[in-house]
């Protein structure tokens, strides 16, 4: 696929999402807005997993850091949603740098375990300080603290959410599209392909991995902050293991084209999960089944197979 075709494919889904907005029913707007936020998270995860080959199982912590950073700021500091958004992104960046410093020094399964433990630590902290964070039950934010509040004289809640999510998604897609074409993006892929070789060319791969992890954290934290500021809710459930596992599935289902794969994968999995929501714990079931199917099919899906093998350190 040449550069122009890739660019057209990259922006085609956001363009379709923009075009169909006027004719969407309320529930579809609500659902797609949420999927678009999760897609931003998926893009963040793809930078870490798909570009750099680091299989993290702790990205829920980065999502939650953005969510708590924004949500708690509106509760304890100021109800200004834009400042809260920045605070959420800053919190996610700080947490991803700390987590990245711990985890990117090691590779393969050790990175996976380290990130998993770091995320579980944040989850337990959120539960422990129940009176501040609201624990598993969470806290509902004031309406004036949400991003939809300033637009309320002109737009309904679902319209505001949809438009905010769409704009953020377009920014996220553009960022990944630009990254994939840049020298930095090529270096990230080179780290995944052969870190030792890149090191032998004089590059500091530890710094590259940390940078990629932090960038991934900014994306994840932005999604978390938007989740809080568009839906007026923060809760420890978002820091749980399921929220770390889901993006693995989205990326694997989305396929090898990083510019569009995370969005496609996230939409497909969530649409299927939504259709199955009537079943007992349908969402969890779909994610679990999806991962099992991917694991069984991995030998045939050469791209997913290679990515998983590299990320888990089974091959150099």
């Amino acid at each position: 696929m040449n550069g122009l075709a890739r660019t057209i494919v990259t922006f085609s889904i956001p363009a379709v999402l923009a075009c169909i907005y006027p004719i969407l029913p309320e529930y579809a707007k609500f659902f797609l807005a949420r999927v678009m936020i999760l897609s931003v998270y998926a893009y963040g995860y793809a930078i870490c997993f798909q570009m750099l080959g680091m299989l993290s199982l702790g990205h829920a912590a980065l999502f939650a850091a953005g969510m708590y950073g924004a949500g708690l700021y509106t509760i304890y500091a100021s109800p200004s949603p834009l400042s809260a958004l920045l605070m959420g992104v800053a919190a996610a960046l700080a947490f991803s740098l700390a987590m990245g410093l711990l985890s990117t020094r090691v590779g393969g399964p050790f990175l996976t375990i380290t990130t998993l433990l770091a995320a579980q630590a944040l989850y337990l902290v959120a539960l422990h300080f129940n009176e501040i964070t609201g624990g598993e039950q969470g806290i509902v934010l004031g309406r004036e603290a949400t991003l939809v509040w300033p637009l309320s004289p002109w737009l309904g809640e679902s319209d505001s959410r949809y438009l905010f999510s769409l704009v953020t998604l377009v920014i996220a897609v553009t960022g990944v599209w630009a990254l994939s074409r840049s020298r930095l993006g090529k270096l990230f892929i080179a780290v995944r392909d052969d870190e030792e070789k890149l090191e032998s060319l004089g590059y500091n791969t530890a710094t590259l991995k940390l940078l990629g992890f932090a960038l991934s954290g900014v994306y994840s934290g932005t999604a978390g902050a938007l989740q809080a500021l568009l839906y007026s809710y923060v809760g420890a459930g978002y820091a749980g293991i399921l929220n770390s596992v889901e993006p693995v599935l989205w990326v694997l289902v989305g396929g090898p084209l990083i510019q569009v794969g995370p969005l496609l994968g996230c939409m497909l999995v969530n649409i299927i999960a939504d259709l199955a929501r009537g079943m007992l714990r349908g969402h969890v079931l779909i994610v679990g089944l999806g991962l099992v199917l991917i694991a069984f099919a991995a030998g045939r899906l050469s791209w997913a197979y290679r990515l998983l093998r590299r990320s888990t350190g089974l091959v150099s």
Binding site: I189, D193, E199, S200
Partner: protein, 242 residues
């Protein structure tokens, strides 16, 4: 160290447990020279290459580059000073195109710039038509040439080529020989390690012979003494030091 020496090994040894891979090697490489290194399998040539590149640290002895003690430096730090190398099995970034592989390598090292553009080195390698091809789709020989190209554009002052002719076709070996001959005008120092004795002798000014971890002979490629040691080592399987 004299001003024209770029690399100097002083009593370098490497032990793996009780196994002596390299033993008490003294070696000087001059600026702009091509030094050949030959020896049978297990002679310690590749281990010596790794000790120079920084992939391994010597058990004893010192490595100097440009007069500076680099014994404790990592491979990345040595690359930054201008020491580049290729591996026994070519290692390139398989998800990237040939152009992207060269662009990443371009001037990543700390040495002089031998080539100003990716196109220039691709032409030298005879790979101009494959610039947009993904590295994973290249043949073994093309990957080998690409890895050499990556080392050439990385701003290196010393190039360590470990078995560069391995797995190449006759035509590709000829192209490699022509590329290496062309480097003599670039004042780049090259250590050429290969199992093809004639290939190494035809390209190198001096040849070192290794056997059982020792440097058993070192001298001009056409020197009779060196030729005799080569014969001893290869044909009779003897350690010339015995």
């Amino acid at each position: 160290m004299s001003p024209s020496q770029i690399l100097s090994l002083r009593g370098v040894s490497k032990f793996f447990g009780g196994v002596q891979a390299v033993l008490d090697v003294y070696l000087d490489v001059l600026e702009g020279e091509m030094l050949g290194l030959i020896g049978p399998n297990g002679a310690g040539k590749s281990t010596l290459a790794k000790l120079i590149l920084g992939s391994l640290k010597p058990s004893t002895g010192k490595v100097f580059f440009g007069g500076r003690d680099i014994t404790g430096l990592s491979r990345r730090e040595r690359a930054g000073l201008g020491i580049a190398g290729t591996n026994q099995f070519p290692r390139v970034f398989s998800s990237l195109t040939l152009r992207e592989n060269l662009e990443i390598s371009l001037k990543s090292g700390g040495g002089k710039h031998l080539f100003e553009s990716v196109a220039e080195v691709a032409e030298l390698l005879g790979l101009s038509g494959l610039l947009e091809a993904q590295a994973s789709s290249l043949s073994h020989g093309q990957r080998r040439l690409l890895e050499i190209g990556m080392a050439l554009v990385s701003g290196s002052r010393l190039l360590v080529l470990d078995e560069p002719s391995q797995g190449l076709t006759g035509g590709e070996v000829e192209r490699l020989a022509s590329i290496l001959t062309g480097l003599s005008s670039k004042r780049l120092s090259v250590i050429l390690i290969d199992h093809r004795v004639d290939f190494v002798k035809s390209l190198s000014g001096r040849v070192g012979v290794m056997s059982k971890g020792r440097m058993v002979a070192l001298g001009p490629a056409g020197d009779k003494g060196v030729a005799d040691v080569i014969e001893e080592v290869y044909l009779r399987g003897l350690d010339a030091g015995d």
